[in-house]
């Protein structure tokens, strides 16, 4: 009891000490000494840059694509305020929620609206921006859909972002319609404009931004929602950080910074300020907002627009980074996969039979029939390896990546550092581990077939010379097997180049994440995908041609 009392006293003393300056400045600095973050000295913020004007990629004065939007400006402001270095992690919107839940990041900033369900996995700051929710439709349906009741029909398809409040709003307000959830707002708008969806629930400011670029988009109405506004998701249970965030928000509102951030972001998203989002060669003096509007109307519903490639070109730095990341991913994946596969293949082909004695006859020789001989043949190493291979080959790689990243690596803390300025180790590493685990299963079968393709006489010759099983493997079998399977391994490399695109879902900045960045920022959808297609083709096609060349050369050498 005494101790408890002393503690209470100390606490109240502390409160008293800090209450005085708090009253004067409306903020408390009580968090300063206790502030801890996921990575020391850094404020790690997860975001989903498809949400202009909150967060999106814009071209800066130097022509470099940069994460922009008022969430990003506020994040920078908060990091400065706390004296930390800002680190931004880009993932899909539902990824932001997962990152917070697994405590992989400090903050989630993606126009998050507080809700009871979300409170369970994260803490919320005070509301920092008063947004609103909107239901939108396209011009084609503007006459039919004038209210949420009009949209609530079974033959209508309504879009909303995966894991978002808007999805809940869609479910409550238009329960009779078919509701489609997609990971990116850009994709929803694209479906809406192409007539695949009749309406969509989107954040109000985001809707207005898209409307400026796509005049066919019509805002039907504001959707009532009890918590009006966005808050910052804070890693649950980190009270000093929550205090710091709230103080920073208060400060940004008091000194007018927040207002300025919003104004700048809205300008930027509408293409007013930077030439980057305007059509090239726009007539000087013409108003920024009209230039893209006219262009859109002129080209009508064309599948691909040449001018959009010019837009994509401005993001070439992201694509270059993406290519480097994709190549590194593939190389390391194949390396990890190969070592794993070799171990698995040897396990599968091993002769480890601990129950062999059961199948021995009286003379100490093995029987080759009967149940006991079957039990005697049981090889636990081979069984485990076979189970591994079959499980991995029978489950989707996406599931495996999520389990590895959100499951396994949320329990292991990885050093957080960035290579070449864009490759985040703590995401890249789980990525190559997950892909390597997957690839190992496939490579295992390749290696096994390679070993089995070596003539049995080779082993007999080696063993008859007194070589051990390991010496036989090392000097005789593997060198010959590897030569046989080199083309198959190289083909697996090509497969990995393509499959690695899936790692963008855990925030690895590869080619696909560059595509998504452009989609979210420049409101063009098909063109960045075509660019990515071309890049992947340019990576894979020459590689497989080179492999085919060597394959032919090697088989020529074998002819007698």
């Amino acid at each position: 009891m005494k101790k408890m009392f002393a503690l209470l006293l100390a606490l109240s003393m502390c409160l008293l000490v800090f209450a005085v300056p708090a009253a004067a400045t409306a903020t408390t600095d009580s968090w300063r000494d206790e502030l801890t973050t996921v990575t020391e000295g850094k404020l790690t913020v997860a975001t989903s840059p498809d949400f202009a004007p909150y967060e999106f990629y814009a071209i800066d004065e130097n022509g470099t694509p940069t994460l922009s939007g008022f969430d990003m400006d506020l994040a920078k402001y908060m990091a400065d305020y706390m004296g930390l270095e800002l680190e931004i992690v880009t993932v899909d919107f539902d990824g932001v929620l997962s990152e917070l839940q697994t405590k992989s990041v400090d903050l989630g900033m993606a126009g998050l609206s507080p809700s009871a369900e979300r409170e369970a996995i994260m803490d919320f700051s005070e509301i920092y921006y008063q947004g609103g929710q909107a239901m939108v439709t396209s011009k084609a349906y503007a006459d039919e859909i004038k209210s949420m009741e009009d949209a609530n029909k079974a033959d209508y398809t309504i879009g909303a972002q995966t894991g978002s409040i808007q999805l809940e709003l869609a479910n409550t307000n238009t329960p009779d319609a078919a509701i489609v959830s997609m990971p990116k707002v850009t994709d929803i708008i694209s479906e809406l404009l192409s007539g695949k969806e009749q309406a969509a629930f989107v954040e109000m400011d985001v809707a207005l931004c898209y409307q400026k670029n796509y005049p066919d988009l019509v805002v039907v109405c504001e959707v009532p929602y009890d918590t009006k506004g966005s808050a910052i998701g804070v890693c649950k249970g980190n009270a000093p950080l929550l205090a710091a965030v709230n103080d920073a928000i208060t400060a940004s509102q008091e000194d007018g910074s927040m207002e300025q951030f919003v104004a700048e972001a809205v300008d930027l998203a509408a293409g007013d300020k930077y030439e980057g989002l305007l059509e090239d060669g726009a007539v000087p003096g013409q108003e920024g907002e009209e230039a893209p509007d006219e262009a859109e109307e002129e080209s009508g519903n064309a599948f691909v627009k040449a001018k959009n490639f010019a837009t994509v070109a401005k993001y070439k730095d992201l694509f270059v980074q993406g290519v480097i990341v994709t190549i590194l991913l593939s190389v390391f994946t194949v390396l990890i996969g190969f070592v794993l596969a070799l171990m698995l293949a040897l396990m599968r082909m091993s002769d480890f039979r601990p129950l062999r004695f059961l199948s021995m006859n009286k003379e100490g020789f093995e029987e080759d029939t009967g149940i006991l001989s079957k039990i005697g043949k049981f090889n636990p190493l081979s069984f485990l390896a076979t189970a591994y291979v079959e499980i991995i080959r029978s489950t989707p790689v996406l599931v495996q990546i999520f389990i590895i990243y959100y499951g396994v690596f949320s329990m292991i803390s990885l050093p957080s550092f960035t290579l070449f300025g864009f490759l985040k180790f703590e995401r890249f590493f789980p990525g190559i581990v997950a892909l390597g685990i997957n690839s190992g299963a496939y490579l295992c079968e390749i290696i096994r077939s390679g070993i089995q393709s070596v003539d049995g006489g080779q082993t007999e010759a080696a063993r008859s010379l007194g070589m051990s099983q390991i010496q036989n493997l090392r000097f005789i079998i593997l060198p010959q097997a590897l030569k046989n399977i080199l083309p198959a391994i190289a083909n697996e490399f090509v497969v990995i180049i393509k499959e690695s695109s899936i790692t963008y879902t855990i925030g690895v900045q590869d080619i696909m994440s560059a595509v998504n960045a452009v989609k979210g920022a420049a409101f063009v959808i098909t063109e960045p995908l075509l660019v990515a297609t071309a890049i992947y083709f340019c990576l894979c096609f020459p590689t497989s041609k080179v492999i085919a060349y060597f394959e032919r050369r090697m088989s020529r050498g074998d002819k007698r």
């Binding site: 100490g364 020789f365 029987e367 080759d368 029939t369 010759a461 008859s464 010379l465 007194g466 010496q471």
Partner: protein, 260 residues
Amino acid sequence: MAIRDNALIQVKNLKKYYNRGAIKALDDVSVDINKGDVMVVIGPSGSGKSTFLRSLNLLEQPTGGQIIFGGVDITKKKYTDENGKSIKLNLDEHRQRMGMVFQHFNLFPHMTIIDNMTLAPVQVKGKNKAECEKRALKLLERVGLKDRANAYPIQLSGGQKQRVAIVRALMMEPEVMLFDEPTSALDPEMVGEVLEVMKELASEGMTMVCVTHEMGFAREVGNRVLFMADGKLVEQGTPDEIFNNPKSPRLKEFFAQVLK
């Protein structure tokens, strides 16, 4: 049965059964292989002569019987030494002392001839590589292939390959050489050069067990001939006894077939 001084390998009641004895590849074969013997095994195909030879260095796992080599039954996982201590059998050690030559040569195609020869002595016996190479070149010279030392197996003819395979086995300085139909995969004009090497080896006193269809070699070089049929050792004796005075009807029938 006491171990005779000159018995290098004693085979006792060797059996190789499949399907619980429904198929008997080796049916109770007993024979002593003495030091200096050139034992030739003949018989129709499927008679179990290759199985018998391959069982001698346990490339084939027998299902019964004993093979006593160097005083130890090598068919068992463990043996007891003279002090009654149980010791785990190191089969690799025993195999080092038995050279083997295969029908299909089984040279290592990814290595040069000289590397084929030096690999096992260097890696298994831990010998000096340079010395091994010197010895390998001497052996190659004896079989007339010194100039092909740095060639790859693919560049050699069948007869050359088999001569290399023989000297490769000799590099391990074995006490006995096992030949599994060494000339059966060769073009007829190359058979002679291989038999010549084997004959020379025999004349130097090497203990040899040879499964072959070369009756001339059996008659000329062998000092003992075994005739096997249906997994059984049907008849054995000197070449003179076997070829000039066959006793069993099975052997007479065999000669009627092959010596037509």
